[in-house]
Amino acid sequence: MSAAKNISQVDEGLKSELQKSGIFVTTLEGLYNWGRRSSIWPLQFGLACCAIEMIATACARYDIDRFGAGLFRPSPRQADLMIVSGTVTKKMTPQVVRLYNQMPEPKYVITMGACSISGGPFKDGYNVLKGIDRYIPVDVHLPGCPPRPEALLHGLMKLQEKIDSQQIEKMEWYQKGLKREFPVPEFGPNGLNPPYNPDVFQPQQHREITVG
């Protein structure tokens, strides 16, 4: 989804004029998005090695507090960003999906590290889920193993741009009939069933590559 520029009816010239005399003009949407963008509370939820890098980002040198996202909330009830940092195993998937469901509505997901995006170096493991986007919608994919703290900050900035460009009328959670529920998979004898959530993940069809 391309991050559309913040379309506001006020033309730029007038805005800068007023700003000189100390009057700030913005749309309600601009204010609303600025408020939500600058105070994202991540869920304290470290799975593996990327969690140590996430804590390093929260510490003094890379300081995620400059973006307002420093307050790591242990309970999903008060968090609006879930950073899936680490390998999501099949035994952990029901818990991750349940936590995502239990977060209040304007919620975002950053999959930090190659493991949560697609299984990463442990892709061939029998107990490793090939990416959390099989069960929950993901906003920002953050590659790296582990991604450097600066990369996590960059991912957070990308998410802030995405929040900036959201219009209040068209946001999913304000639509009337939309069902925002993601079923929790059960443990089967071999793996998880259902293997993926159809309305969130479409497996690629193996196209036959014919040569010549």
């Binding site: 239990q102 304007p106 939309l178 529920e181 993601f182 079923p183």
Partner: protein, 123 residues
Amino acid sequence: MSPSSYEYHYLFLGIFLLIAISFPLLPIILARIVAPKKPNPIKTATYECGVETKGDSWVQFKVQYYVYALMFVIFDIEVIFIYPWAVAFKQMGFFAFVEMVVFLAILAFGLIYAWKKNVLEWK
């Protein structure tokens, strides 16, 4: 209602009370109106570190919790009585001081009794 009349001072208190009450209530009401509501059975389930809750939480818990809370409430009320006294402490002279000391002594006696009955130890 002239500025020096009696009710005027209470007007000030009324406005102050109104603002004090509106501070907690306003965000709650605003959130109830504006916040998106998308309840679903998984979301409204009780949160217990990501797993389903086992066992029910309406259990007969130990009586110590209740007694501890009771002790707290008693000494909390005591502090509330001390506040107005502490504010007007200077103008009220020596008699009010002695009266407060008696009040504190009675409550201290209650604390010693609770201590001896070792309500405060947490077995």
